[in-house]
Assembly symmetry: none
Homo-oligomer: 226 residues x 2
């Protein structure tokens, strides 16, 4: 899936330049020309990163930054600030307000790309694995090692629980039997791939109605659907 970036600037030339380069690099880009629009789009689209010009009419970059941080929906989106002022005070202020990086105009597109890439990479890395997975009435609690349906616990063996967890964590994506063997059983392929089938069967049997989430993709593997 393409990573989405929101570019906020009031100068059409800058927008165009940045947009072109980011799209070239394979990102999905949307733009906003002022603070209000920026906040609205940030909330509705929850982009993976925001490129934000400090100099804007009405609401400047710092204010937008602050506003974004105050809203839970946007609080964690990394922000790259663009500014004409190279003064140190700006850098510190920007970082304090929650910007993740800083670029002073004039900047080269290549430099912008580098920063964006780096920040996105870092953010992916620090994304912490979720402790709970919830899909409708199905709840999987990792640290408690409990799965439940409509708040009623489901008795699962260790392997079944792990299998369910792995599938749920990769919801939507098909997992081949080999993939599952590697991730659930860990030591490689001493085990027959058909074993996965048996475990899927037992899992489906035990989780009852929640089995509708477990999809078989003939010829490929299994998939957890939301």
């Amino acid at each position: 899936m393409k990573l989405r970036i929101l570019v906020v600037d009031d100068e059409p030339e800058i927008i165009e330049l940045v947009e072109f380069n980011l799209k070239q690099a394979g990102y999905a880009v949307t733009t906003a020309a002022d603070g209000a629009e920026a906040l609205k789009k940030a909330r509705s689209q929850t982009p993976d990163l925001i490129v934000l010009d400090v100099m804007l009419p009405e609401m400047d970059g710092f204010e937008i930054c602050k506003a974004l941080r105050l809203d839970a929906a946007t609080a964690k989106i990394p922000i790259v600030m663009l500014t004409a002022k190279a003064a140190e005070i700006d850098r510190v202020l920007g970082l304090e307000l929650g910007a993740d990086d800083y670029l002073t105009k004039p900047f080269s597109p290549r430099e912008l790309l580098l920063r964006v890439k780096k920040i996105l990479a870092r953010h992916q890395a620090e994304e912490k694995p979720k402790e709970q997975l919830r899909y409708g009435d199905l709840l999987i609690d990792l640290p408690r090692h409990i799965a439940s349906w409509k708040n009623k616990p489901i008795e699962l063996t260790a392997t079944e629980f792990k299998l369910l967890t792995i599938l749920a964590q990769r919801a939507g994506r098909v997992q081949s039997r080999d993939q599952l063997l590697r991730d659930v059983w860990e030591y490689d392929s001493l085990i027959d791939t058909r074993t996965v089938d048996t475990h899927m069967r037992r899992l489906r049997e035990k989780i009852g109605p929640a089995a509708k989430h477990l999809d078989t993709v003939r010829g490929v593997g299994y998939r957890f659907i939301e």
Copy 2:
């Protein structure tokens, strides 16, 4: 219980030097060579202090620092930064981002120890762990080192008490045998994991009716249920 320190550096010599000196001084030390590993270990082990080199490949110390501060699980762990640059800006930036102290290379091990000790003393003082845990009729009094059931004291050995305490403090969360060995026995894994079983058995025997709180999760570990 030994205080645990996580040392993050990419240079093996530095790691070795720091690790040796800290262990000598009675701390339990784990190490990480890069940012991703550092974040992972910080979250999984929640050390009491982190020694962090600023100069690292990929993700530098400032970024790690910031990432640690953004996560509730690691936000309050004190950080001592190591850097080659003595520049003022670095110091200010580092402190702003949440480092608790600062050390410029080359530093003497004695100096590092002093800082670590000082910071830990300050932090321990202001942090008060719960002194009592109560679950129904079961009461665990940490400072008095006494457990009781319906106000009647339960005779426990030091190890049994610690085991019970660790489990109760993480009530609900499954603890693997390895995890328990690390936290209760402290020095790593010289001990057979089955030893945990034996101690659980003795513990259950002694606490009698309260044993209903001690749950076995087959294939995974043990869990304290409320």
